[in-house]
Amino acid sequence: MLRVENLTVSFRTDEGRVTPVQGVDFAVAEGRTLGLVGESGSGKSVSTKAVMRLLPGNAGIDPASRIRFTDRQGEEIAIEGLKPGARALRRLRGGEIGMIFQEPMASFSPVYTIGNQIVEAIGLHRGLKGAAARDLAVGMLAKVGISNPGARVDQYPQELSGGMRQRCMIALALSAGPRLLIADEPTTALDVTIQAQVLELMRGLQRDLGMGMIFITHDLGVIAQIAHDVAVMYLGTIVETGPVRAVLKSPAHPYTRGLIAAIPRLDRIEVRLHPVPGDIPSPSARPAGCPFHTRCADRIAGLCDRVAPPVAKLGEGRATRCHLYAERNAA
């Protein structure tokens, strides 16, 4: 449904050009959830904002990038070529591709009730008005597990708790009937018991509605529970992709291995944790060759620090960008 190929995004800044996303490929199929995982500054939010064309004015999408979305009529839209403010783009945002963010308070307007805002979205994207739109809004709130939705619909966002607001945000995004939902750290700001509720809710809704979903998070535990496929990002590139189970159980790329080893576990108590050595380089000083070579224990001198590794296919839908595997493929 969504295919992103060779996506490169750069920003003009006072310190020169910064390229937080470089040559990223990913795809989402109907009814599947792609987990996009990475540490801060890895480019996960920037690449999905590019899909929605929600980047700030000083950002540029490289002309060689392709962002292709197949809409409900089966027509392929080249999102990268749309003009800002184009009709097609407005129809896409919300109607075809919904988005929810970490902090719902920043997405809701404080001066309209929850109901007003959902009804507005329903009117824009589904052409329903008046009582019909309101009934649908109440129905959506009930669907996301809001108790007493008939009364909540007339409340303002700031009258609700954080968990409740995030449910309303999901109801708002879903009320336009999107076929793809992009969720950017939707549970990060929530308490763990509320996060569990929201994860179960999203898992259920995604299954029932058959939506495609991109779920962005830094938490591999959340990925394990919600995603079918995972893409691991490091410094603006995807270093490894594949089915969640395979990637988490037998990570291929040294960075994925390091990341999984560093996670403090709840089912065992360790004497020492295993951090990934070194610091993440700044995106404005991206290392030459493989971006991870400065921290990698398995780097091949003279190769990893010079040549960007090609994508190596590992079978079963898995791929990684690492010279260790490229060598093996060639052999």
Binding site: V192, Q197, V244, L248, A262, R268, D279
Partner: protein
């Protein structure tokens, strides 16, 4: 982790922190009272890390601040067994507090401390002495001060060390222990990454060789690989210096890796306090069990079956009657609604507040450590 001594460093009994909230009525009617911390008792031993977990609004941050008198407690005692004798921090005079201030420190997450919540007197006490200990990029990592001056602040401000050469020596020593590059001491904080800034904060908290440090969400804002590094660092420093930590965090798996004992807090009260292995692998309170099952593990083979908790965390200003967890507890009975459970020792060192704890078996399997 070394074995820790049995002697208590801090003994908290019946700690209470209440705030008056809401507007006064037109005719001066009584304002509502919010008990953010409502009768909490526990102790922290020398060289021990006590983890304090709970969800938002549980009062865990208020406990940490009240122990150090960054917030005025409204009841209870905080007995501190210092090198120069015992002192009840909850009732100590401002001048006594000032004297022992270098021994008690705080490390917050970046941007964590809201100075507006400190009372006037506490603020006067903390500004000259401690403002630079808080992990707030605006007030603590002063962009116009070099890293050396930032780390030296607690020594200089307390008048503990006045000789410049000695201050330098102490700063270099603690900076090296915190694995900071000594050549960077003359730089300004903006040049550092999040992990390095956190190490600067830890160095500053430890430079006066305190015996107690409150770490409030100190690693929450960090990426997982840096988080692991900081946790290892805190453990090493504890082994070397024998400092005690109160480690406040919402992330249970982090708390599991650093703590000797762990307390679980819910709406102003402790519900469970136990040695780390008992708490994580044999929890006795339904809320602890619910918290543990709510954490998604990065292993697709571990089933994710969170205990279903209905509704939301209650507003502490309208705390439920009886057991505060009864509105969400899957095992609630009539007794829980009216009668508050007493704080009792269900097994050696394992404290709990639940009427029916004996009936539950929440045991979890512990995976073999490391691969």
């Amino acid at each position: 982790m070394k074995d820790i001594a049995r002697e208590a460093l801090i003994e908290v009994s019946n700690l209470e922190v209440a705030f008056e909230i809401g507007r006064k009525g037109l005719f001066g009617g009584r304002r509502a009272r919010l008990r953010a911390v409502d009768g909490v008792s526990f102790d922290i031993r020398r060289g021990e890390t006590v983890g304090l977990v709970g969800e938002s609004g549980s009062g865990k941050t208020t406990v940490g601040r009240a122990i150090l008198r960054a917030i005025e407690p409204t009841g209870g005692r905080v007995l501190y067994h210092g090198a120069r004798g015992d002192m009840d921090l909850a009732h100590a005079s401002q001048s006594d507090l000032r004297r022992i201030r270098p021994n008690l420190q705080m490390v917050f997450r970046e941007g964590g401390l809201d100075l507006a919540t400190l009372s006037g007197a506490a603020l006067r006490l903390f500004r000259p002495r401690m403002s630079l200990v808080f992990q707030d990029p605006y007030s603590s990592l002063n962009p116009r001060m070099t890293v050396r001056d930032i780390i030296a602040e607690p020594l200089v401000a307390s008048g503990l060390v006045t000789d410049r050469a000695e201050v330098d020596a102490r700063v270099r020593e603690i900076a090296a222990r915190c694995k900071l590059n000594l050549e960077h001491l003359r730089r300004f904080p903006h040049a550092f990454s999040g992990g390095q800034r956190q190490r600067i904060c830890i160095a500053r908290a430890l430079v006066a060789r305190p015996d107690f440090v409150v770490c409030d969400e100190s690693v929450s804002a960090l990426d997982v690989s840096i988080q692991a590094e900081i946790i290892n660092l805190l453990k090493d420093l504890q082994d070397e210096m024998g400092v005690s930590f109160l480690f406040i965090a919402h992330d249970l798996s982090v708390v599991a890796q650093i703590s000797h004992r762990v307390a679980v807090m819910y709406v102003g009260k402790f519900v469970e306090y136990a040695p780390v292995r008992s708490l994580f692998f044999h929890p006795r309170h339904p809320y602890s069990h619910a918290l543990l099952t709510a954490v998604p593990e990065p292993d697709p083979d571990l089933p994710f079956a969170p205990e279903r908790l209905d509704g939301e965390i209650p507003n502490p200003a309208k705390a439920p009657s009886g057991c505060r967890f009864h509105t969400r507890c899957p095992f609630v009975r009539d007794r829980c609604k009216d009668e508050a459970p007493e704080w009792r020792e269900i097994a050696p060192e394992h404290f709990i507040a639940c009427h029916h704890a004996e009936e539950f078996d929440f045991r979890r399997t512990e995976a073999p450590a490391g691969e």
